[in-house]
Symmetry: C2
Subunit: 340 residues, 2 copies
Amino acid sequence: MRLILLGFGTVGQGLAELLLAKAALLSRQYGLKPVVVGIADMQKGSIANPKGINLKRALELAKKGKSLTALPGRVIEGDALAFIKAVNADVLVEATYTDIKTGQPATSYIEAALRKKMHVTTTNKGPVALHYARLKRLADRNRVQFLFEGTVVSGTPLVNLIRDTLAGCEIREIRGILNGTTNYILTRMEEGLGYEAALKKAQELGYAEAVPDADVLGWDALAKVTILANVFFGGKKKPFDYSCRGITKIDASAIAKAKEAGKRYKLIGRVWRQKGEVHASVAPQQIELSHPLAGVGGATNAVTVSTDALGDVTIVGPGAGRVETGYSLLADLIHLATSR
Amino acid sequence: MRLILLGFGTVGQGLAELLLAKAALLSRQYGLKPVVVGIADMQKGSIANPKGINLKRALELAKKGKSLTALPGRVIEGDALAFIKAVNADVLVEATYTDIKTGQPATSYIEAALRKKMHVTTTNKGPVALHYARLKRLADRNRVQFLFEGTVVSGTPLVNLIRDTLAGCEIREIRGILNGTTNYILTRMEEGLGYEAALKKAQELGYAEAVPDADVLGWDALAKVTILANVFFGGKKKPFDYSCRGITKIDASAIAKAKEAGKRYKLIGRVWRQKGEVHASVAPQQIELSHPLAGVGGATNAVTVSTDALGDVTIVGPGAGRVETGYSLLADLIHLATSR
């Protein structure tokens, strides 16, 4: 299995580390021998080597801030599209930056790879939230797979859980805590911090960005909700077609009131079907303390899937992280090796 | 895909209902067209029909307490072993009664089917807790699959979750609430009921048997823990080789003390590795209220899987039920149709 890594930032490096650490396990258990034949990164340069790139050296160079073009192989000039054209491989691992307004340029990379009959795995929310139906059709037409486990709750296996292990169930509703940053802030607020102080704490820990809008206004959760709507409910809308409220209006008194009522505020992303139509939303909700979602504190994510045959099934796990998100790509590669 | 159903009690009927309800979905989504060519039940009689048994009529007969031999087809005399010999099929669905001391007679049925190069799916804890390694080897030698999603937490997809979607992870520890009856009793005790009153309530609701030993002494959880040890840690021991304590010694004062310390009693089954050795146990434990397992009340089950790449992943769902356990068999059939 020959791979191209597009983007060699946190996530791409997380995958490279896992490929090194787990080479023996992958080969023994799945007969899977992934060879990275190309890495293309806007900052770090682009290199191709059909015999396989030395990932240990690539990681060393990246950590020292040096260019990957120092590695043995062919230096490819031009952008990522030129790279995909020039390098032959079986799978494109797409981990470039996310733009949830346009999905570009990642969507054009994915399209180019699918047209070249390469499987694609991505951690990029933009393409799946905005262009899922089109990309899935393109993949089907070219008889390859389009996978994106890491787009919703990082490596926590939600997408594969629904697709593979809840395969025979009718999915009636999906709702959950899809953003770790806001869940961390709400958890600290319940412990007594004010919103500003809790946000500052989240920024210090690296959970929240300096400009925290994408998290606290709910946009990140909204993109994930849209992905779930697209993939599991056949939704056709774009993220900002759905209603979205973040946590910026939740104050100490609201938290205290909920607590008195035996409840707890969570920022809940939700997708459901009503009268044949697909609905989705992001909004703070008061959750009964007895519900599995209420017990999920800190930066952890959790999603409850309501089904016909099993009732509610909830999965709780990490929603971010270098190795965690890298793992989502590895899980997709194993899926490629074991499914038909 | 031709199936033999062995045992047409609650679970076998639950599967039959799902096969009827989901025929269109299975065919459309997975190209899967299961045909039940034989049903063998100790009480209800045994019938074979290579053209397919009318499941709707079989369910009607079973519900009226009538014999399945009234259905069109060939009546097979003798026991289940004779039935497996006489009827050709691709998959044996084994849902006869559980004996966790010997694993018999179910184990001999599974062996006979594997030797005939039939895949096997079972909901029966005995064979997997006592004879997993041998049955897995036999399946491998005959190039068929031995599946058992329903043996641990009913249809909640724990086994498939670990095998498929956590496939690239190293599993370091599994611990969880594996018995719904005891979790229901502990939940009611925390609300103020005494042990005897809570047990009576569980019996009234059908959660606990008249002789509740298998649940309250921890044996049911112990069988499940042993299955997890066998399958995911290469454990070689039998259930009663591991330490096992139930909930019968937990009284109101113990519950109150835990509550004061911000904790909650749960009957926890646990498997882990220490210095290369596989350990397992069942015992009541005080769980921090902030842990996902603490929030799981009533008859629900929950399991936390500790991994290298993702840290802790927890799955929460039903641990029993007619359709829920029937679904575990359907999930295994879909796995057969989609894996290679």
